[in-house]
Symmetry: C2
């Protein structure tokens, strides 16, 4: 079998807090000869790499991809042919809207060994860092994780089915569609349905607001909460302690209905 | 402020593979004076505890809880009053069907400092370790994580809404309801809808089968796949390489439709 000696590891870097990296991913960072990393990877993690490790940023710059996906795929193969360990480090989990499987498939078809290391998804840790349990007995017994923007650029129709369910909904990459999402929730759940927007969750830049569906667009604008952020929808949002949120007391006063 | 010196940390131990513990949770294990752990926590993780650390098993024995939830809550408070660091180590993530928030609330109301450390959920890492990406562009752009058994013992009605969506569905604690789940999927998606059952995912006891919805109950019985296991439903199941699954070639031959 014509195996190339280099190996590719596709690992999740977790939601932002470097302490939420897995032990396995940390070992991979320490061992890597080349690391290709995304915009959402906390660069503190890269300080654990060997001095000789080559660090290649392949994320977005000013909204534009530094490299399109097919070039990233090619870079993985290219470096695996001249390095022992190539680490592809992705924000969150590589299989939760991470295009990890596209990279896996491309590398594997070149007969290069490839390993997947799951990471903590911001879909779960993002709410947790604001005190929101995505499930809680008697409040919510399911969790729907959805992307705000489909690969064809459209808005997912699944959001309407999700709104009809009792699930906690977490929308990733959905801030640019916030008004549409809040409208669907007002229509299919209630104008009072609790929503939260969490920007840079689990990091020291974390900012979050919460409020009823009918007011959430205004709150996000007022407190300038924008991408990268997740949207959390459901009764579990109201479980969270207020201190995690920006000026919540003021917001609560203004929002009293 | 009448703060007690002890601190409680509620941490996810991840899906089984000790390497999937977070760096933060590993530090907590090393630092803890008392660890209360569940049945789904890989005991290899406990070998990183200090020799003086007191290890208390609070999981299920032969289907019965060693301690009911209110006793676990009390134990956390009790030990925090005489120890510096009390670690509550839970399988997967404490906020994904983990009752983590019930423990958090109980400890916090006793004015004891409490910290949550998210863990990798088997809902994402379980499929990944069998080569199943829970999302994949063009195949599935949302993920619904649901419990097979509600806290009132009933079967969740959300499964029917989930079946009508295009989401990848991951059912935790659902093996005892497998026949009902497969029936709903046959009725609302298709008899050919790909399903997988993954037992002890990410560990060296991992076993898994996959097949169409109409045959999955028979396959699970034939290969004796039972709890603790997760059920994965959706087109992404067919993306997985066959080698992760038990006797798949044979199963495929027999299942040819």
């Amino acid at each position: 079998m014509n195996r190339i000696t280099g190996k590719v590891i596709i690992a999740g870097a977790g939601p932002g807090d470097p302490g939420l990296l897995t032990v396995k991913a940390l070992r991979a960072v320490e061992d890597a000869d080349v690391i290709l990393y995304d915009a959402l990877v906390n660069t503190t993690i890269l300080t654990y790499a060997k001095p000789s490790c080559r660090l290649i940023y392949v994320g977005k710059r000013k909204g534009c991809h530094a490299y399109p996906q097919h070039v990233i795929n090619e870079l993985l193969v290219h470096h695996a042919r001249s390095s022992r360990v190539v680490l592809r480090l992705k924000g969150g989990d590589p299989y939760v809207f991470g295009r990890g499987h596209e990279e896996y498939t491309h590398v594997a078809k070149h007969d290069i060994e490839v390993e997947i290391i799951p990471g903590i998804s911001s879909a779960i840790a993002g709410p947790a860092c604001c005190g929101i349990p995505v499930t809680h007995r008697g409040t919510s017994e399911s969790l729907w994780v959805i992307t705000g923007t489909l690969s064809d650029g459209n808005f997912s129709s699944d959001i309407k089915l999700a709104a009809r369910s009792s699930a906690t909904i977490v929308v990733l990459m959905g801030v640019s569609h916030l008004a549409e999402i809040a409208h669907v929730i007002c229509e299919l759940r209630s104008t009072a349905e609790p929503m939260a927007i969490i920007q840079n969750g689990t990091t020291n830049q974390q900012q979050a607001v919460k409020g009823p569906a009918y007011k959430i667009v205004e709150l996000a604008e007022q407190y300038e909460i924008g991408a990268p952020a997740i949207i959390v929808i459901g009764k579990v949002v109201d479980i969270a302690d207020a201190f995690h949120f920006l000026n919540l007391q003021e917001a609560n006063l203004r929002l009293a209905v």
